[in-house]
């Protein structure tokens, strides 16, 4: 029973970290219909940027975090302007490949500038062990959960009530109509990517606190796919629920079965779910017309 509780807490907290990463995906998809295979690398870049500012340049962590977020926004805007914009209208395979290319560029840059040596990141989020009953969870994960919850609320409100957010949903629904209504598609895309890059940076900073900086952070991008698909590509609450579900699934598989199955089982579950609900649990169904 104690083990079950431990695994549950552990799984949920991991799941929230996944959800945080998934949020970045969802925002980009919701606004611009693009799936960003480079989200893991954006995380990585964010983590290393924070490392550079805080550990290498010795800045105080608040300034370091702020600078990281600023640079992330900049990267998001640059990527959108020079990489995504020329590809508007191209088939989806090109979109996917260009984000894969982007992921290589980011990973390569991180390797070249910092080299993927795992480093100790001076954690500013206290890693005190918090005991929930007999189960232990590290405080930094609770912070992750808190931030994920906060962002969830923020973004839901953003897309529901904020002008830019509604504009994004309009564009995702029908670009032509939105354009004819005077909505600036370019600006909406730029904002979407900037937000997603910032979310990734936040995720990266949190991960850096939990596991330190290393090249492995980008692998999280891969693990997050089942979360995103499960929850539905354009559903923010879906990202959270998907994250929790996958986190728990991984924890239970790892704890009770092992054999390295904990990466595979989510994928298997994913495939089964997709067969039944091709657009994920909460995704919007795409209606095609000929």
């Amino acid at each position: 029973m104690e083990k079950f509780l431990q695994l549950t807490i552990s799984g949920l907290s991991n799941g929230m970290v996944y959800a945080l990463v998934a949020l970045g995906f969802v925002i980009i998809y919701k606004a611009s219909d693009v799936i960003n295979f480079a989200q893991g690398e954006l995380l990585l870049f964010g983590a290393y940027l924070a490392f550079a500012f805080i550990a290498q340049l010795g800045l105080h962590w608040t300034i370091g975090v702020l600078l990281t977020l600023l640079v992330a926004v900049l990267i998001g805007v640059i990527v959108e302007r020079f990489v995504l914009r020329p590809l508007i209208g191209e088939p989806i395979i090109s979109m996917i490949m260009v984000t894969i290319g982007l992921s290589s560029v980011l990973k390569g840059l991180v390797n070249a500038i910092w080299s993927p040596v795992p480093r100790r990141f001076p954690p500013f989020i206290p890693a005190v062990d918090v005991y929930i009953g007999p189960a232990v969870v590290s405080a930094d994960r609770l912070v992750a959960i808190g931030i994920a919850a906060l962002l969830l609320i923020l973004f839901t409100l953003f897309f529901r009530y904020n002008r830019e957010g509604i504009a994004m949903r309009a564009i995702a629904d029908d670009q032509q109509a939105a354009l004819s209504m005077g909505i600036s598609v370019k600006r909406a895309f730029a904002i979407a990517w900037a937000i997603a890059a910032m979310t990734a940076a936040v995720g990266g900073i949190i991960l850096a606190n939990i596991v330190g900086v290393s090249g492995d952070i980008s692998l999280l991008g891969l693990r997050v796919f089942p979360v995103v698909i499960l929850g539905g590509l354009d559903s923010i609450p879906g990202a959270i629920i998907g994250g929790a579900f996958i986190g728990l699934l991984e924890a239970y598989t790892g704890g009770y079965i092992g054999h390295g199955l904990d990466l595979i089982v989510p994928f298997i579950v994913l495939m089964l779910v997709l067969m039944v609900r091709p657009y994920g649990l909460f995704g919007k169904e795409i209606i095609e017309r000929v």
Partner: protein
């Protein structure tokens, strides 16, 4: 844009090479391919073999992605099936390689159909993720099914023996690789002249409309997966016999992405493109390496940085091609041809 070209029968109209200039170019190319191994160094033969094998795989992938429009991230898995299939048959059961390779390719095709099943329900992105799942699952199976695959140990595969002659040098293997690549290209070119090929293209362009006019979309999608996986599996099997030692690390997601990059940079939906892309992606790392080494003396700092940038350059090349010339090297080639075709009267 062909003026002055008149055909008097269907056969001439349907020919693969219709204009005399095309036939001449093809002839020169074939002549070059035949003469090449006699004066090339082992290093170049090695590269040529790699390109030939990659071409087979790229053509296979193009059938699925370029012609039928089904996104797949599972090529590494199909290659693994082909490689381990043929490798195990020859190494453990002593099956001669000219039997084991086709068997392995068919096995890969079967696995391809299995993982193509999601395509009946899913499209675009969701399909891509489903194939990603397939890739990871097969990888896990290869690593953990230790009794069959030897798990994480590398599998030693005996080099093929044809009429008693061991094909263990680059020179000897070249002929097999090139002939098979040529046959693959020929098969695919003919495939897309046929009914089946047209069905594939119809599915890519507008699958709902295709269904409406009577194309059995389910059947043809699975067929596309099967055909594509056959060739990808063939590449895997040949790689196993070429390298004589294989391990799962050769067939990971990175491999799948590499092949996708090949066909995108080369040109989706073209056979030329598959070849160009395969050649480009094989030569690029060699180029960067040599650039790095030649700089070692004069700019040592640059030299050590260059391999680090290799991954960034890989990604940058993909992005540049997609942004500047989305139709890839094949389109560039077509532009060059067209330019010379109407030169000097380009107006």
């Amino acid at each position: 844009m062909e003026c002055g070209v008149f055909f008097t029968n269907y056969k001439a109209d349907m020919a693969l090479r219709r204009k005399p200039i095309q036939k001449i170019r093809l002839g020169i190319f074939i002549a070059f391919v035949i003469i090449f191994p006699f004066f090339a160094s082992p290093y170049w033969l090695n590269l040529a073999n790699q390109i030939a094998l990659a071409t087979i795989g790229a053509i296979g992938l193009n059938i699925l992605v370029g012609y039928t429009g089904q996104i797949s991230l599972g090529q590494g898995a199909f290659m693994a099936v082909g490689a381990y299939g043929s490798g195990l048959l020859t190494a453990r059961l002593g099956v001669p390689f000219w039997m084991s390779i086709p068997i392995a390719a068919f096995l890969a095709a079967a696995v391809g159909v299995l993982f193509g099943l999601p395509s009946l329900r899913l499209k675009g992105l969701y399909l891509a993720i489903a194939t990603l799942a397939a890739q990871e699952i097969v990888e896990w199976v290869v690593v953990h099914w230790t009794s069959v695959t030897g798990g994480v140990e590398a599998l030693v595969v005996p080099s093929p023996k044809l009429f008693g002659l061991r094909l263990n040098t680059d020179f000897r293997f070249y002929w097999i690789a090139v002939i098979l690549a040529g046959l693959t290209a020929l098969f695919t070119a003919n495939l897309f002249r046929s009914r089946v090929g047209r069905a594939f293209i119809a599915i890519r362009d507008q699958d709902i409309a295709a269904e409406v006019i009577g194309v059995n979309v389910y059947w043809y999608k699975l067929l596309a997966f099967a055909t594509s996986s056959f060739f990808v599996g063939l590449t895997g099997a040949l790689t196993a016999h070429y390298r004589t030692i294989i391990s799962w690390e050769r067939f990971t997601l990175d491999t799948s992405i590499l092949y996708l990059a090949m066909i995108i940079i080369g040109g989706l939906g073209t056979i030329n493109g598959s070849f160009f892309g395969a050649a480009f992606m094989t030569l690029l790392p060699a180029f960067i390496n040599n650039l790095g080494r030649s700089l070692q003396g004069s700019f040592p700092a640059m030299a050590t940085m260059l391999p680090a940038f290799q991954q960034a350059i890989f990604g940058l090349v993909i992005i540049l091609f997609l942004v500047i010339e989305p139709e890839g090297l094949a389109k560039l080639w077509r532009n060059i041809k067209d330019y010379f075709y109407v030169w000097p009267f380009s107006y």
